[in-house]
């Protein structure tokens, strides 16, 4: 039997033609109904026995109550512009250039489409929106009447001093920090009381569906990050595939998650090119692989794998057996 390799790669005119060979009964409607019944029963059983995950939302109140030192330190970083949000770049602000792979720099090209200004959006505007104690009010006035350079100087000095002191206010070196300590404490108190959650969500509006500032601020500290680590959701521990609790996660993301496990994309050195550009590079890798899967029928070699590893001979064993009979 000769094998002609057609454009589609696996030779034989039979695949191109209408089938003229033997038939068998097929009740497509019955098949569909049985499938729906079977899947419905399976779903009901699984849902009834195992339920589904629903870990409660984290709040700023939860953060400031369980990790007040970290909340305080993050508030200082927001004022100093040293938080991750403050230095992110597009689409939130122009503090950085964004990721570019050679000449391909779409993050830069599309610019700031969701403007977020951390010192004001996360700290100062929320403080100003509430009636505050006398010292916080005075601190806000002092901040507002200072020059931008003075503000940065106070905040970054305090940020450095706090870091050097390991977050312990009793170990803090003396210095000129202006109103920053009082502002940070004022925000921490707002968060502990629960007021900050409402203020950050509403942002002065009645309806609000955009949670961008809250997520960015929450992610700047360790509260969200620690909860994710505890739940095995970090990117470098296959977290993309995982789910909270003992539930199966998104197992179909295994290949996307895989690249983040490779030490080259995952090193401790933030200046390493592959690590600092991992998000873009891995996305492009997955795009290429997806395209390869999509265009598989046209890729020589790959499309011949089913012929080389003949699992099909098991699937169609009855057919081949009948063909072999004289």
């Amino acid at each position: 039997m000769t094998t002609r390799h057609s454009k589609a790669g696996n030779g034989s005119d039979v695949a191109l033609q209408e089938w003229r060979g033997p038939w068998r009964r097929y009740d497509i409607v019955k098949e569909g109904v049985i499938a729906v019944v079977v899947v419905s029963i399976l779903t009901l059983l699984l849902a009834g026995i195992f339920s589904s995950p629903d870990e409660p939302q984290l709040t700023f109140q939860g953060w400031a109550t369980s990790a007040p030192d970290n909340f305080y330190a993050t508030a200082v970083q927001e004022l100093a512009g040293t938080s991750e949000s403050a230095g992110y770049g597009p689409p939130y602000n122009t503090a950085a250039d964004g990721v570019a792979v050679g000449p391909i720099a779409p993050q830069q090209w599309f610019g700031v489409t969701h403007p977020v200004d951390p010192p004001n959006d996360f700290v100062l505007t929320p403080l100003r929106s509430q009636q505050q104690s006398a010292d916080v009010t005075a601190a806000l006035a002092a901040w507002d009447s200072a020059t931008a350079d003075q503000q940065i100087s106070w905040a970054s000095d305090y940020d450095s001093a706090l870091t050097d002191a390991g977050g312990d206010l009793t170990q803090l070196a003396p210095g000129d920090y202006g109103p920053v300590p009082v502002l940070a404490q004022g925000l921490t108190d707002m968060a502990t009381s629960g007021a900050l959650d409402g203020v950050l969500t509403a942002r002065g509006a009645f309806y609000q569906t955009d949670a961008t500032p809250q997520i960015l601020f929450l992610g700047d500290g360790s509260y969200l990050d620690d909860a994710a680590t505890a739940a095995h959701l970090q990117g470098n521990t296959w977290g993309m595939m995982n789910e909270t609790g003992s539930y199966p996660g998104q197992a179909w993301l295994w290949l996307y998650s895989f690249w983040y496990q490779i030490p080259t994309f995952n090193s401790d050195n933030p200046d390493d090119y592959l690590t600092s550009h991992a998000d873009a590079l891995i996305f492009y890798i997955m795009a290429v692989l997806s395209l390869a899967l999509l265009l598989l029928p046209f890729i020589p070699g790959l499309r011949s794998i089913p012929r080389w590893i003949p699992i099909h001979r098991l699937i169609w064993r009855d057919y081949y057996r009948r063909q072999a009979r004289p």
Binding site: F50, P53, A231, H232, W238, S246, I311, D318
Partner: protein, 54 residues
């Protein structure tokens, strides 16, 4: 939230199996193993013959 029909412990952290940089949760492993088993069974299990075939 009290789920009285929930198997106890579903909200507890999953068991993780690790070999070097490979780390998989037990529930995910079960799903994947199940898929492979289903695939193999689907291919090897005999399919009912059509009534009219000898």
């Amino acid at each position: 939230m009290d789920q009285t029909y929930q198997v106890a412990g579903m909200n507890d952290p999953a068991t993780y199996l690790s070999w070097g940089w490979l780390s998989i949760s037990l529930p995910n492993l079960i799903v994947i193993v199940l898929m492979v088993v289903l695939f193999v069974l689907a291919i090897v299990l005999p399919f009912p013959k059509d009534r009219d075939q000898s």
